[in-house]
Point group: C2
Chain length 196, copies 2
């Protein structure tokens, strides 16, 4: 789904005004039937004989993906990865606004990183009441991750994006998405080892 949006933006950038399922399929390395099935799950966006209006479909995809609104994001763990994420423009561009940084290291608390003060994780619950957070990005070491996630959940935040290389457990009303770089490397290792 995200992929289709990406392709649509490409096509839009190229000045195309309409696009067919065939073109989208070719771009994504799939079949036109697949594209139509995927899209039709959410509604009927195309015109027979013509294809899809790029601008209209783009807008619909944005709405479906929840990208029309802004999301308030905090980053927990201001190590190298957390700091890198804090200043990653890609976030802001798509409406993900970093409004807070948290850490447990007393040496870091109080310092400013990219115009945002680093706060103690203990103040998260209170901060969240004052200014609710939509998504917490977890960028702490594996050994601390589950504890931090528990604190985040206890603070009332219900969207979590984790970069910790372990499987985390959250209540069913909390949405968790994990990017596990260790596993991605292993996937590559497997692919490289097993090509004839």
């Amino acid at each position: 789904m995200s992929l289709y949006l990406r392709f649509l933006e490409e096509f839009e950038g190229a000045g195309l005004t309409t696009v067919s399922s065939d073109e989208l399929a070719a771009r994504g390395g799939t079949t036109s039937a697949q594209v139509r099935k995927d899209l039709s799950f959410f509604g009927s966006f195309g015109k027979r004989g013509l294809g899809y209006q790029v601008s209209e479909l783009t807008q619909n995809m944005r709405r479906i993906l929840g990208l029309e609104r802004d999301w308030r994001v905090i980053i927990v763990g201001v190590g190298k990865i957390g700091a890198a994420l804090a200043q990653y423009e890609g976030f802001q561009q798509r409406g993900f606004h970093v409004i807070g940084l948290y850490d447990s290291d007393p040496a870091k608390i109080g310092r400013e990183i990219y115009h945002l003060p680093v706060r103690a994780i203990e103040s998260l619950a209170e901060d969240n009441r004052a200014r609710p957070v939509d998504i917490a990005v977890i960028a702490v070491p594996a050994s601390a991750a589950q504890r931090v996630v528990d604190q985040v959940v206890a603070s009332g935040i219900s969207g979590i994006m984790s970069f910790a290389p372990i499987q985390l457990h959250v209540p069913s009303d909390v949405t968790l998405n994990t990017v596990n770089m260790a596993m991605e490397l292993e996937r590559l290792s497997y692919a490289l080892s097993n090509r004839e």
Copy 2:
């Protein structure tokens, strides 16, 4: 597959010497039949009535995933993300050794980051002949990514791990794995928007 290895290491750490497909399934939130099917694809590692020998299965998984050997890795693009990856211990721990850093910014070339000199991307082909590289990690802006990938491929490197938020194209004899954080955020956005 990677997941199983992770669980096995947990069980090993807990001192267990054998494990059943049921236990692995419980740990991973799947079914025992699924676990057995997955494993049996690669061979017959268990003993009926007993289960799997943890150490033996761990070793087999490592072999299957190609983790018994060391991998020589370079990082192309020493921005915030590239620098963060360069010093990420998780890489070294699993046998992924960062042996070189590359960038196109003259201000960065020649500087040392975590004991490794940053070199010009132009010297990559030559360096690779002197000391072959297994995997190139791409951590450059989206706008430069395809060009950099082409250079990497032209240098003779055939394993690529990309963090650029775009779809890259490589010849079929090159293995590419992409971690697209923009898409992961969108996935989370979608999940958050569409829960009742």
